[in-house]
């Protein structure tokens, strides 16, 4: 029996109709394509009226197949599948073809776009006739969640989920949770003390009955899929017994070995070989850094071991791996600072009193290496003038084209702190001032009133080569003041470079483990930049905070909470749908050549030696179809993408060569 196909061509307002003659496409499909019973065009197919059109036609006209020519199936395939099943048609008997993103939005010529739209509709009509009814399967969602990254975004997500009663594994790479926010002194625009608002959250996560804290740990591998991920976590050797240690700190105090702390203190301060990164660290269990520990280097000392009251030191401890089963994963791996050495004309690393923003945070911090005194590298002289350079490595075609989002506000914060703590003049060298969140513009006004100087222009060079007597012994900022329209040289004592926020160096690697991709810059790609900012292309994997793009604390917190809400939704629903797009081997025709066996990255194909045939383990198959195209006997079928369907689609898409009419050649 011939199928009855319904074709629905969407105008999408003028989005499609502006470049494609949709009425013509619908009319043509109705008249020229075989088995098309109904062919309509409609203003908005995705509207409830548009969907009703399909439902009514299925009921009244007895349609057995439906083709919707509209936007990308990634946007509305679900919508139309639902419409089909509402009217009693199996939802896999629908095919959606994309005449908006792939056609009307990218082509200028109406005639050519219309011919292409016809091709795509024709392909869908030919294909849909071979589609088969399929039933999705459902699997239970494991209510436990993995959060990667213990910065503010990850903490927020963790606490939201834990408070809702769900178990969370919080994996953090460094010895303590807290992230970059723990390094800061004040937070803009309210100037709350960063530690005062962060540490309660840290200790709450540390003590929460629903949180398993895995600090000093990294993700080794991720297997499985939404609802049931199997994660291997490598716990790096702390060399301190986690259960016995009380965090008294005697070992740290007595350790004779001091090294420069390049991580938490950004190279300005020191730490011991056995250390917790900062006093409020969670957990309080220290770690031994084998690269600087005297015992590991020279087999001497063991002072910590001798003095530990609970005998918690374990010099022989090694890395171990932990297997976790979770239903969902939230990645909140944050950012790393731009290496300011990459802009040599700014002199960082060469000119002593050029600082990075993180160094300056530590300098301002009351718990930092100078106890909050803003002094120059000599450790005692207070600067008489400070220059803050914006957009170092961001908004720069040579480094990162994006805006790092936080630097304008952080610069204003620094300006305020310098004015508050010293008598210095503060200059801000900016390209554009970006203060577009709640309370930010007011903070800018406040700094203008406090007397911070603003120079609009990109700094070309920072040098210590004096030309004038008043420049002697100073750092000279050479820049064009674009408001005045001339070059200026401003001598200062101290320079702060507001380096860009960059994605973590290994973000891509982690993304690959979890099956998500990164943007060109290296930030994780969200499912939709506006409407789905925390979900990713891989179901069950979410992103939050600066790993998705440079953002400030309020935005990171909001994303952390949003990701947690999405995960809670999955847990409450309890089940996830697994697409029935899997491969199947027809055993009676299988020759047992085993070519397909090696094709599968999921080991989803097993070989039955007795029967000399291969067999697909449906639960493991992800439906890529590589085995289907590899089978020399063509006895593997890939559901919903089988050979018949694709061959039909190829024939359909080339309609104007087969019948030689309305060819693109004559249309242009």
């Amino acid at each position: 029996m011939a199928e009855k196909v319904g074709v629905y061509v969407c105008h999408c307002g003028s989005n499609i109709a502006g470049k494609v003659d949709v009425e013509e496409v619908a009319k043509w499909a109705g008249e020229r394509l075989k088995d098309v019973t109904v062919s309509r065009d409609y203003k908005f197919m995705c509207s409830s009226l548009g969907q009703k059109l399909i439902e009514d036609d299925i009921r009244n006209e007895g349609l057995t197949r439906v083709v919707v020519a509209a936007c990308s199936p990634h946007l509305h395939e679900k919508t139309f599948r639902r419409a089909c099943s509402n009217a009693g048609l199996n939802s896999y008997l629908l095919d959606m073809t994309n005449i908006r993103e792939h056609c009307s939005w990218v082509h200028r010529d109406v005639a050519a776009a219309t011919v292409k739209a016809k091709s795509l509709v024709s392909a869908a009509v030919e294909r849909v006739k071979f589609q088969e009814p399929l039933e999705p399967t459902f699997v239970d969602v494991n209510p436990a969640t993995l959060v990667v990254g213990g910065g503010i975004a990850g903490l927020q997500a963790t606490l939201e989920l834990a408070d809702a009663g769900y178990h969370v594994y919080l994996v953090e790479r460094s010895p303590s949770i807290g992230g970059h926010m723990a390094q800061f002194d004040k937070t803009f625009p309210t100037l709350d003390c960063s530690a005062c608002i962060l540490t309660p959250k840290m200790s709450e996560a540390g003590q929460h009955e629903n949180v398993t804290l895995l600090t000093y740990s990294e993700i080794e591998s991720v297997k499985g899929s939404v609802g049931n991920f199997q994660v291997k976590v490598r716990r790096k050797a702390r060399r301190v017994d986690y259960d016995l240690c009380t965090g008294c700190g005697i070992c740290v105090e007595k350790c004779p070995r001091k090294v420069v702390d390049t991580e938490f203190e950004a190279g300005l301060g020191t730490r011991k070989a056995i250390y917790t990164p900062f006093p409020q660290a969670v957990p309080r269990v220290p770690v031994i850094d084998a690269d600087s520990c005297i015992w590991f280097q020279r087999q001497k000392c063991r002072a910590c071991e001798k003095l530990c009251p609970t005998n918690a030191i374990r010099f022989d401890q090694e890395d171990d791996t932990l297997d976790l089963n979770v239903g969902n994963i939230i990645l909140a791996t944050g950012w790393k600072p731009f290496d300011c050495r990459n802009i040599p004309q700014y002199g960082y690393g060469r000119l002593a009193n050029v600082y990075t923003s993180l160094e300056f945070e530590r300098l301002c911090n009351a718990a930092g290496p100078t106890n909050g005194k803003i002094v120059m590298r000599d450790g005692k002289t207070e600067p008489k003038s400070v220059a803050i350079i914006h957009c170092v490595g961001s908004r720069d075609v040579n480094h990162n084209e994006y805006c790092s989002a936080i630097c304008c506000m952080a610069s204003l914060k620094f300006g305020h702190l310098v004015l508050e703590k010293t008598k210095a003049d503060v200059y801000s060298f900016y390209i554009d001032m970006r203060t577009n969140q709640k309370g930010y513009e007011e903070f800018y006004q406040r700094l203008l009133e406090e007397g911070m100087h603003f120079v609009r222009g990109k700094v070309s060079e920072i040098t210590d080569a004096a030309r004038q007597p008043d420049e002697q012994g100073k750092l000279i900022i050479q820049c064009e003041d674009t408001l005045v329209g001339r070059q200026r040289r401003i001598p200062v004592d101290m320079v702060v470079l507001m380096g860009a926020l960059e994605p973590q160096a290994d973000a891509k690697e982690l993304g690959l483990k979890c099956g998500i991709s990164c943007s060109m810059q290296g930030f994780f790609t969200e499912r939709h930049p506006k409407l789905d900012p925390v979900a990713t292309m891989t179901d069950g994997v979410f992103v939050a905070g600066a790993c998705q793009g440079a953002k400030d604390i309020p935005a990171s917190v909001a994303q952390g909470a949003a990701a947690a809400a999405r995960v809670q939704g999955m847990i409450t629903k309890g089940k996830v749908m697994i697409e029935p797009v899997v491969a199947k081997i027809h055993e009676e025709a299988c020759s047992g050549c085993r070519i397909c066996n090696t094709m599968c990255p999921y080991n989803a194909i097993e070989f039955d030696a007795d029967k000399n045939v291969s067999r697909i383990l449906t639960a493991l198959c992800k439906g890529c179809g590589t085995c289907v195209s590899a089978c020399p006997a063509q006895v593997i079928t890939g559901a919903h993408f089988n050979n018949q369907q694709i061959f039909a689609e190829i024939e359909g898409v080339l309609w104007d060569t087969a019948d030689k009419q309305n060819a693109l050649v004559s249309a242009t």
Binding site: M537, C624, T626, S629, Q634, F647, T657
Partner: protein
């Protein structure tokens, strides 16, 4: 038909996860490109059977684009590498069949690379324009062997393995 107004017809096999979404992104960002590539969605570039390409060419396509995720970024771990291997073998086969191998191109585009995909489309269209129409099927028609030739291509795969169904 003169060279100047020849508009090639190209079939594009795009993987669901990266390249199809790159084409979606090119759309959302309104990156204009040539209308000659008609897209067929497959789950993975590894699904692209070389016979799909031959089928398209035999039905009158002047070129074929196969697009997948970047090496190492495949949604299915490593299946794009399998697409790559087949692609290189296919190029040899095309040469043997008298088809310029440049008519078929494998392209990598991540979901974030709308611009790159649009450029790849334009460059393939420009190159196929230079090659001119393929007219593979018409040529057979002139020989009076079109049907046999078509049949042969589709069955070649099976015959090579001595499987009869």
């Amino acid at each position: 038909m003169t060279e100047t107004n020849f508009e090639p017809k190209i079939v594009g096999f795009l993987c669901n996860w990266c390249s199809y979404r790159a084409a979606d992104l090119a759309g959302s960002a309104r990156i204009a490109h040539a209308p000659n590539v008609r897209i067929i969605r497959v789950m993975c570039s590894g699904r692209v059977d070389p016979t799909f390409v031959l089928k398209a060419l035999s039905l009158g396509a002047d070129g074929v684009m196969i697009a997948g995720c970047h090496p190492g970024e495949c949604h299915y771990v490593e299946q794009n590498y399998k697409a790559m291997r087949r692609y290189h073998l296919l190029k040899h086969t095309l040469l043997a069949m008298g088809v310029e191998p440049d008519r078929v191109r494998l392209v990598w585009a991540s979901a974030a690379e709308g611009q790159q995909l649009a450029e790849a489309v334009d460059s393939l269209v420009a190159d196929v324009k230079k090659l001119g129409p393929l007219g593979w099927s018409q040529n057979w028609e002139e020989n009076g062997e079109r049907l046999q030739a078509l049949e042969h291509i589709i069955n070649e795969h099976a015959e090579a393995m001595e499987v009869h169904s």
